[in-house]
Symmetry: C2
Subunit: 214 residues, 2 copies
Amino acid sequence: MKLYGYFRSSTTYRLRIALELKGIDYEYIPVNLLTSEQKGEAFTSRNPFGSVPMLEADGCDRAQSMAQIEWLDEAYPENSLLPADLEDRYTARELAYAIATETHAVNNLPVLKYLKDPLGHSQEEIDIWYRHWLARTFAPLEARLAQLGTGDFLFDRPGFFEVVLLPQFYNAERFQFDCSDKPHIARIAQACLALPEFQRAHPDNQPDNPEMSS
Amino acid sequence: MKLYGYFRSSTTYRLRIALELKGIDYEYIPVNLLTSEQKGEAFTSRNPFGSVPMLEADGCDRAQSMAQIEWLDEAYPENSLLPADLEDRYTARELAYAIATETHAVNNLPVLKYLKDPLGHSQEEIDIWYRHWLARTFAPLEARLAQLGTGDFLFDRPGFFEVVLLPQFYNAERFQFDCSDKPHIARIAQACLALPEFQRAHPDNQPDNPEMSS
């Protein structure tokens, strides 16, 4: 498999975690979002959405991270990301899709760029926007996790939910969003970050991160 | 089952279509978004996300429309929304999640409200924002549908993709977004709108629509 992505892209980070947790070998091919490489003809002829991640797998160029993850878990059942129990599957998806739609989608790079130009907002206003949508989902997420009485992970080991949570936790730190009053979220994130799969998937450890220690 | 929703909410509309296509009887309970009923204690004690739709089903209060739809299709396999073939399932999800994350999430009511207050944008600027995110996803969506050579529906009958497309097609009409150069999208939408399941699910035919003909 080949994963086309960008080190700091939250959705690429999701795929790196998913592939690591499933134990699937893949080749990582950086796409430079800063030069809009994903909007060039060479890329959009394969992925009309012009977005990363693109997963080249089993003869197809696949777009859309959540569809990629659902597909991976069906096509490669070993080390499943979704639990077997129907209600647990629902719970994992409820929390993951809350982050994917209500936080990530609204804070995605094209949206932030539009706020700057044409809408003319300052970086400070954009940072406030960013933290607003983090707060709006992380508060009910924390409430749900408290109701569920979770331990180090949502279930017995990290899976579908943690794949989506960790990139958003990384963003929260980048945007100085305080998670100290979110003990369940913070505990799950720290437990994940201690695992080699999450360390290998981390943006700090990607070849296209200019600050990567060589 | 009980579906708590609002007639014009795109995500509630998704659930109405899904339940209709699956042939599942349900009670529709209007929640008045205009008076922020979904943010009241009576509602958030059951759904901490404070959002519609909420689906009361099999003893649980379920939030997040895409998780609800995935759950419905697993818990009630009859009249499945997702096709059986692995690649077709991927395709349906790719197109549906593109709309759910890149169009719907960014054009959702809380986002439009934030653009108005505190950001101070005019209705005209908000309408341009709305059409921008429709255009940005509908163009590659049309390209994918052309590649796939679709007929009246993505596959042999309406399912997962059409559940998410039709509410967005309704929004496109409301916001004067022209779909005449999107023949595949327009054809699929018209074929769906001719079916009684989609007519019963339509916002025009809900009891909380003030313009409903009695």
